[in-house]
């Protein structure tokens, strides 16, 4: 498997001289299976430069897996050029949305309303298929398997485990560690904590034996407390998770849009100083980063 990062920024694209080393595009990860099947995790603005590289290899079959439908994870989708070229097949997978009570098919028709985008969904020329996923049910993509895992974010967020010939990686999408909504002296605290502990048991089981974990690390440890409930984790959360599950490598992503490259390296170094022996290789995600598994 080969994993390539095309967008590592959270919330909003952040181009400019301050972010040129790590990149300003929002979330998009390309995964190529051993047989070269194309899996794309999230369709933030990073999917646009990825699309440019695909134009030389048409026709293509792209299997896009959306972690959740917040803008920074879908905004590049209408700019995924293979959608407009006959002969390509684009399969879009994602979660059922509880609030709108619609499947992942809404991801295109919401974005391609005529007031907001000049081309209508009906005018796409590729074969477009939608598959609303069931949590825990694996999807086969050629020689690879993609398994959705329900994580913790303000909308249902699916993390994806991609496995191929004995190697595996997991991308969290946006995820915040679970916290107890009851203070310790509340009678409901223990019961709620037991439910959280159960969720962790489920998570650790789903994330066993990973060669690579790509994890939401939006915040520093100090930034996190006032942002509890916003749906993102910290560098320290991610390192602890990688240690707990025994991941071989950890890539930190979803960088804060206001964080310059220098600041990003500084806060990362600070976090690493708190974990002198993380037990795995830990690195910052950047556009163009390629990992062979």
């Amino acid at each position: 498997m080969k994993v390539t990062m095309w967008g590592v920024r959270g919330s909003i694209p952040s181009p400019g001289p301050r972010t040129v080393r790590y990149g300003g595009n929002t979330t998009c990860i390309e995964v190529r299976s051993d047989d070269d099947n194309l899996i794309i995790l999230d369709a933030g603005t990073g999917i646009f430069p990825l699309a440019q590289t695909l134009l030389a290899r048409l026709p293509i079959t792209a299997n896009i897996f959306i972690t959740h439908t917040h803008w920074d994870h879908i905004q590049g989708l209408p700019f995924f050029v293979p959608l407009y070229i006959p002969g390509n097949t684009v399969r879009i997978h994602g979660a059922y949305d509880l609030v709108s009570m619609q499947g992942i098919e809404q991801v295109m028709n919401v974005q391609m309303q005529y007031s907001y985008f000049p081309i209508r969904e009906a005018e796409l020329r590729a074969g477009v298929e939608y598959e609303t996923l069931t949590v825990g049910n694996p999807v086969s993509v050629g020689d690879a398997t993609v398994t959705p895992v329900l994580l913790n974010h303000p909308v249902p967020n699916l993390g994806y485990r991609v496995a191929c010939n004995g190697r595996s990686m997991f991308f969290t999408g946006d995820h915040e560690p679970w916290t107890n909504i009851y203070p310790p002296d509340d009678p409901e605290h223990a019961n709620y904590q037991a439910m959280i502990d159960h969720r962790y048991t489920e998570l650790y089981a789903a994330l066993g034996e990973l060669d690579l974990l790509i994890c939401d690390t939006a915040y520093t440890l100090a930034e996190y407390p006032p942002k509890i409930g916003w749906g993102h984790g910290s560098f320290d959360h991610a390192i602890n998770l990688a240690q707990r599950i025994g991941a071989k490598r950890l890539i930190c992503t979803h960088h804060e849009p206001t964080r310059s490259d220098d600041e990003l390296e500084r806060v990362f170094a600070e976090a690493m100083s708190r974990h002198p022996e993380p037990g795995c290789e830990v690195m910052l995600g950047r556009e163009g980063l390629e990992i062979l598994l």
């Binding site: 996923l133 949590v135 825990g136």
Partner: protein
């Protein structure tokens, strides 16, 4: 065996999806959610007092898309899986449907119904905590109490003529309401409530409790015992009104695990006034003209 046509079953299922919630929870949720930092535990505290909101949340979280290995049986557990913001927005979407009117044309008083359901829920939880902790989950007993009579609201909202007739038979002939419902509708509120709960893939023990809460010959379980005793206590002490008054003849069929007789069980539970006061505050009894 009660009979319900497939068409009626379909009608009731879709009707409940459009069912408005109770006035107090709608009002409090609209107020609370104006503050982006509203406390999650306060939000849960409101939602889990409203049978309609609770049902709608359990329905979506237990839907096939989430393929959860174990059934979700409480609002708190739903928050752990979906996150508080999703639950908040779900509650807001339920609130946007409107509010249940206090009285509809059947004359069924939903405020007194809610007072009954909340009191049964809290007392069922208390009974479980005191007597059956090892066999059942107190939170599950609470939900069973909250939802056991849900079928009545469905009848009152969507089978107005038939439910009016059943209520009249209860008053005129002194028959239990569930018998009158079977006579008029062909199925009682317990059957319809359980049918919907099963359709929405609620946990089996909860479905069984809703179905069997009037069935004296049902297979006993700790959860069902807590529910039936709590229901009897609330009807005996007239905590709210489920349209089905207490009858001394029911004494013989009550579970015996809680004490010698219903009076000793009530005494052993201690002061129940706080439970009633909390339920009254939520059900708004006496505040509406």
């Amino acid at each position: 065996m009660p009979q319900l046509t497939l068409e009626l079953e379909r009608k009731l299922t879709t009707a409940v999806e459009r069912m408005p919630a109770f006035p107090k929870s709608v009002q409090v949720i609209l107020e609370m959610t104006r503050d982006i930092n509203c406390l999650p535990r306060n939000l849960v505290g409101v939602i889990e007092k409203d049978p309609v909101m609770t049902i709608k949340i359990l329905r979506v979280i237990n839907s096939a898309y989430y393929g959860l290995p174990n059934k979700i049986t409480s609002v708190g557990q739903s928050v752990v899986y979906l996150g508080i913001n999703t639950i908040k927005n779900l509650a807001l979407s339920f609130a946007a449907v409107g509010i249940l009117p206090r009285f509809n044309t059947t004359g069924f008083d939903i405020q007194r119904y809610l007072l009954h359901s909340l009191s049964v829920a809290s007392i069922a939880r208390l009974l479980c905590e005191k007597h059956a902790r090892a066999e059942a989950d107190p939170g599950d007993c609470y939900i069973a109490g909250l939802l056991h009579d849900f079928g009545k609201v469905v009848f009152a909202q969507f089978m107005v003529g038939e439910f009016m007739k059943a209520l009249a038979i209860t008053v005129d002939c002194g028959k239990p309401l569930y018998e009158a419902e079977i006579e008029v509708i062909g199925a009682d509120h317990a059957f319809v409530g359980a049918l919907l709960a099963k359709k929405w893939k609620f946990a089996e023990p909860l479905v069984n409790c809703i179905r069997d809460h009037h069935a004296t010959d049902a297979a006993p379980s700790a959860m069902l015992d807590c529910l039936r005793m709590a229901d009897a206590i609330c009807r005996k002490l007239a905590f709210g009104d489920s349209g089905n008054p207490w009858r001394e003849v029911e004494l013989a069929s009550l579970p015996t695990r809680f004490g010698e007789n219903i009076e000793t069980v009530i005494t052993a539970l201690g002061d129940l006034q706080k439970i009633v006061n909390d339920a009254q505050a939520f059900a708004q009894i006496g505040t509406e003209k």
